[in-house]
């Protein structure tokens, strides 16, 4: 299959400031691409470039196999949902949804049929005669989606569509978008700063920082094998533990030594790691540190650790211990006997470990 969206060597400057640097992304039909990163990383600018709302400085954008680099937004066969919804305030919901068709000169009967179809799909039939000002946030969101859906485009673009909703509604709408993607089989590009949205929705994630792509991959690739410290820290909540450690080659494996303030260092033995420099940052997700006896496997190693804090979170209990000068979080089962100020045997699953170079931040294994 040929890619439906293909961005190659895209640069975008404002004056002498580089906003986007050498972006190369390509997605297949049916993909759900999420652009994620902290605010100011250029993800929304990239989306606007895809939409044709921002001119690019150099590079090439292809949509559906056609060069769209200099094509105007209306001819790119895209539809876009905006953060502020951008509904036309003086038009009714029905007019908002059909405006695009009206501009393109679609006949009235087709407009009506498409409007009804989309209204039914999104369950906004009772709202069609209202003005956007009379709708709740969630309803506005639906109307904005409706406006995109009637277009039936090659590519849907979403610019942080859920960030103006409250937490509960956000989860609901997130599921609806996912369902919509599944039902339509549509191709979507979605911008968010929320890594949970990225993980739950995407088939492919692009993590960005400072206008530079940090990593492109499936959610599980991004989550399990982050390409650098930034990605490791940004994706996942609670964040991945990043512990300074010393590595020593030892026979057919490596000994990892983690210093502790008032105790002997922890020494873990990783039989897979090879050729690590002396100073490394060891990355382990909280769920890869369990209570001893609750995690089995050949790469699991135990060590007694002083528990500083216990945070019950309902389904799990998080415990915090100070290792290598960092607050390290472990995710234990809810009924754990851990008490603050007591020692507890923790099991470190080195099968899931990531190593990073402290200076460059790049992944080492």
């Amino acid at each position: 299959m040929s890619p439906i969206l293909d961005i190659s060597n895209l640069y975008k400057n404002y004056g002498s400031t580089e906003i986007l640097k050498d972006i190369n992304v390509s997605i297949e039909p049916g993909d759900f691409l999420v652009l994620v990163g902290p605010s100011g990383c250029g993800k929304s600018t990239l989306l606007n470039c895809i939409a044709g709302l921002e001119p690019i400085t150099s590079g090439r954008i292809e949509i559906g196999g056609r060069d769209m680099t200099h094509v105007s937004p209306k001819d790119r066969d895209i539809a876009m949902v905006f953060q502020s919804y951008a509904l036309y305030p003086t038009m009714s919901v029905a007019k908002n949804i059909t405006f695009g068709m009206k501009v393109r000169g679609v006949d009235a009967a087709t407009q009506e049929a498409k409007l009804n179809e989309v209204a039914r799909q999104l369950q906004i039939e009772p709202l069609l005669n209202r003005r956007p000002g009379q709708l709740s946030g969630g309803q506005r969101q639906r109307v904005a989606m409706g406006r995109a859906l009637v277009r039936d485009p090659k590519l849907f673009l979403f610019d942080e569509p859920l960030s103006n909703l409250d937490a509960k509604l956000r989860v609901e709408m997130r599921m609806e978008i996912k369902k919509l993607h599944h039902n339509l089989g549509a191709t979507m590009v979605y911008v968010t700063h929320d890594q949970i949205e990225a993980m739950t929705l995407a088939t492919k994630i692009v993590v960005m920082k400072g206008g530079v792509v940090q990593q492109i991959g499936s959610p599980s690739e991004i989550y399990n094998t982050p390409a650098n410290l930034f990605v490791a820290d940004f994706m996942g909540s609670p964040a991945m533990n990043l512990i300074p450690a010393r590595a020593r080659s030892n026979g057919n494996g490596t000994e990892i030594e983690i210093a502790r303030d008032n105790d002997a260092p922890i020494v873990l033995r990783d039989v897979h790691a090879r050729n690590l420099p002396e100073d490394v940052i060891l990355g382990l997700r909280p769920e890869d540190i369990a209570q001893a006896g609750f995690r089995a496997g050949e790469d699991v190693q135990q060590a007694a650790c002083m528990i500083d804090m216990v945070e019950p979170a309902g389904a799990d209990t998080y415990v915090v211990s100070n290792l290598g000068g960092k607050q390290v979080t472990a995710r234990l089962h809810a009924e754990t006997a851990a008490r603050p100020g007591e020692m507890l045997d923790l099991a470190f699953d080195l099968g899931k470990v990531s190593y990073f170079a402290p200076d460059s931040g790049e992944r080492l294994n």
């Binding site: 606007n48 939409a51 709302l53 105007s72 937004p73 209306k74 895209i78 539809a79 876009m80 905006f82 953060q83 502020s84 951008a86 509904l87 036309y88 305030p89 003086t90 038009m91 405006f99 695009g100 501009v103 393109r104 003005r131 956007p132 000002g133 406006r147």
Partner: protein, 296 residues
């Protein structure tokens, strides 16, 4: 909170009541002060000349007569002609309406471009237009006269319309630009993705949103243009003079007995349209000035 507690007169009911009364009395006095001239004008215009000579300035008319109004409208002499204000009143109407509409429309267009279609130099152009608001009328008189001569519009009503439109664009652009910058730019983006172009977005999305600022601009421009005297007297000739110039001529060119009642009636007639505009659209004026962001 502590500040209020430290000032006992304000926190006690009688103190607050006294302050309230003082405030209303003061406001009442100011209102009377400002209404006084209007009162004198209206009562004087309803008196006969005989009564004006013999009675007091601020007394009510003993016998109400509309004779002076009739004379002012259709019989008073402006120089050698004695047709009253009527022809000049219509000159002003024919002048003000197109001038207001054109300058408002051009201002809306300018504001839309400067606020929502940023281009290189947009700020400079806006600053220059703004600068135009502060150029004194007197400075442009001679160059404008020359300009009108070249365009063949000297002494004509279209010439006056032209002058007022040019002079009004600075203000109208300012009004619309400040209103349109509060409208989220995502609206334009959404419309672009929907396929709408520059004019389509203006007509279908921005203009319907603009009622409050249109009202403000129309009132402002109408008041300016209707009340203008300097441009009117400089760029008109016999037959094309606006009502303000005619009013001046009526008041200044009477011979013999000064007909105060006619002068007063003429002044009220000349002021009536702006007065009506304020009464009818005044509340939108305040709303429009304070309205800003568009929710939705």
């Amino acid at each position: 909170m502590t500040d209020l507690a430290l000032s006992p007169p304000l926190s006690r009911p009688w103190g607050r009541l006294a302050l309230r009364w003082l405030l209303f009395t003061l406001l009442g006095v100011f209102a009377l002060f400002y209404l006084m001239p209007l009162f004198v004008m209206v009562t004087t215009s309803l008196k006969s000349l005989e009564e004006i000579r013999t009675g007091s300035l601020i007394a009510f008319p003993r016998e109400v007569t509309f004779e002076a109004w009739k004379t002012a409208w259709s019989g008073a002499c402006t120089g050698i002609q004695c047709e009253g204000l009527r022809p000049y009143f219509w000159n002003s109407v024919v002048l003000a309406i197109p001038a207001v509409l054109i300058s408002t429309f051009v201002g809306a267009m300018n504001g839309y471009v400067i606020a929502q279609w940023r281009f290189r130099g947009a700020n400079l152009i806006f600053s220059l237009l703004l600068f135009g608001c502060f150029i004194p009328f007197q400075v442009v008189l001679l160059p404008m006269a020359r300009m009108l001569g070249i365009l063949g519009l000297a002494g004509s009503i279209p010439g006056l319309i032209f002058v007022h439109v040019i002079y009004g664009i600075g203000f109208t652009t300012l009004f619309f630009r400040n209103y349109y910058v509060t409208i989220p730019s995502e609206l334009v983006k959404a419309a672009k993705v929907d396929g709408a172009g520059f004019f389509r977005i203006f007509w279908s999305i921005f203009l319907p949103l603009s009622l409050p600022i249109v009202v403000v601009t129309v009132i402002w421009q109408f008041t300016q243009i209707w009340n203008d005297f300097l441009f009117g007297v400089s760029f008109s000739q016999a037959g094309t003079q606006p009502v303000t110039v005619a009013l001046n001529n009526i008041v200044n060119s009477t011979t013999g007995v000064k007909e105060y009642n006619v002068d007063m009636a003429a002044a009220i007639i000349a002021a009536l349209p702006t007065l009506i505009v304020y009464v009818v659209a005044g509340k939108y004026f305040i709303r429009g000035l304070t309205a800003g962001s568009v929710k939705g």
